[in-house]
């Protein structure tokens, strides 16, 4: 059991992936059933918009949790779930945007353009969505090979900024009670904070070690002088 958790076999990973996939679909499934049964309250379109938006944020945060969790638990196979979780964040973002464009505005492109240009909370939300597209598009192994690991990684670091835009989008939309967006903001701050801390540790580690190159340099110079 413990061994499985430490280092699951290929088949076990496939099973875990399948289970996580189904669990990630549950909110969508629940909302779809609610829509069908008219069980989403007095304002079902608002419920759908709100829920799909919150699930986008949650999946973004869950995706950002993979690396710290992996580092602190040593469960390195968690990394193999990250792409799926990130793609679920994108899927819920698509559902969120579709609900807004179709159900809420009913393809009133003028009103939508007005919203994107004039309403800062919609501007940042839309920007976050647009920035997610290249990440989703380059999530396959082929794209990683094509881009090269380093370039792929620096592109995908933009997810930090996207998550910030997502929380700002929620923060600016709320009328008065900031408790919920505050909770997302605190979690995001912790997830980004831990990365900043690692970076700082790495910097200190590099400073602490005397660069061995210095001695060599001198020797080289001396040799040349002789």
């Amino acid at each position: 059991m413990l061994n499985t958790l430490r280092a699951p076999s290929g088949a076990q990973i496939a099973l875990i992936k399948a289970i996580v996939f189904l669990v990630c679909l549950l909110p969508a499934f629940q909302l779809a059933l609610g829509w069908r049964d008219d069980a989403l309250g007095a304002n079902p379109i608002e419920t759908l918009t709100r829920a799909s938006g919150e699930w986008t944020l949650r999946f973004l945060l869950i995706t950002l949790t993979v690396t710290p969790l992996r580092r602190y638990t040593g469960l390195h196979w968690l990394l193999r779930l990250r792409r799926m979780l990130g793609l679920f964040a994108f899927a819920y973002a698509c559902a969120h945007l579709t609900t807004y464009v179709w159900l809420d505005q009913f393809f009133d492109w003028r009103a939508i353009a007005h919203d994107i240009l004039d309403r800062p909370f919609i501007t940042v939300g839309f920007a976050a969505f647009v920035l997610l597209i290249p990440l989703a598009a380059t999530s396959c192994a082929f794209a990683i090979r094509r881009l090269g690991g380093r370039r792929w990684q620096s592109l995908h670091r933009s997810v930090y900024g996207i998550a910030i835009l997502g929380v700002v989008h929620f923060w600016w939309l709320v009328k008065a009670d900031l408790l919920e967006p505050l909770i997302y903001a605190v979690i995001l701050a912790a997830l980004l904070g831990v990365r900043a801390w690692w970076r700082e540790l790495e910097r200190r580690r590099q400073l602490a070690v005397p660069p061995p190159a210095k001695h060599l340099e001198k020797k080289v110079i001396r040799l040349v002088q002789k």
Binding site: P27, Q30, L31, G34, A39, L40, G41, A42, N43, I45, E46, T47, R50, A51, E54, W55, L103, D104, Q105, F106, A111, H114, D115, D118, R119, P120, F121, W172, L173, K175, A176, D177, L179, E180, I183
Partner: protein, 344 residues
Amino acid sequence: MPEPIGNFSVCSWTLNFYCSVFPTLPVSEHDIMLIRPTPDIRPSEITSRALFEDRRRFLARSGMGLAAGAALWHGLGGDAHAAAKLSTVASPLSTTEPLTDQKSVTTYNNFYEFGTDKGDPALNAHRMATRPWTVKVEGLVGKPRTFDIDDLLKLAPLEERIYRMRCVEGWSMVIPWVGFPLATLLKEVDPLGSAKYVEFLTHYDPEIMLRRPVLAWPYGEGLRMDEALHPLTILSVGLYGEVLPNQNGAPIRLVVPWKYGFKSAKSIVTIRLTEHQPPTAWNRATPQEYGFYSNVNPDVSHPRWSQATERRIGELRKRKTLMFNGYADQVAGLYQGMDLRKHY
């Protein structure tokens, strides 16, 4: 005491995920008080068999044991008031538009004292005892007086007023209120010539209400004297021919149909006539977004969203918002010569 299951319900648990982690609304002995029968309600008026059966069917369909248990608890005790019928006379000021269904009117509410999610008031407001209840009328009046709620109910014939209600968030309803003109009450206390404004203060009890200072409690609202005396302005004590449910502002609330919903203060305890414009809750919270007047106006956007359209609850497509919520013929004169962009 069975503890109501907080904010947990079948359809909205995703929205309430974090609220249930942070319970802010304590339960107290006030739960018990509401079950006590009130003097003016005969046992025969309490929840009819048919209505009760209806609820049982609804609960059976909703299917989730815990949530159903909580709702059943409310059904037996908490809603005893709501089923009491009121006799009313029709009003020529009513609209003939189709009504928003009663379930939506009583489960989709903004009553921040009971939680900031629109489902919260229906779950939590049963904690508020609406008897005994008095409304103090004071300030610049010849005859200041404290009215008992049961005397207020007999002050004037109760009218059914079917009004459009437009929320500042962009949704609207058509609600059959039961009430009487605010002017009737104000005449009883003999307003002085110096009275220019009317301030409304609402019930606040930290034991049973939100303690986080989301707004400045108690919630305060205000009207100019001519707005307060306008025949469309009523004090409501019921809806759908029944005593006002707690989540809708029982036992007595203001209804000003040409202004955004938040102007219509709920569960009023003090009415004060003043010379100067009183502070109002949303204006204090975000002055650049919510003005003192807050008349429904499709041409003046909320800084963060458009007010040009609205979604009528129960409808899928948005409809155009009307100036003064469609009451321009009756109220536009009150604002003649005023710049409504400045006095939003």
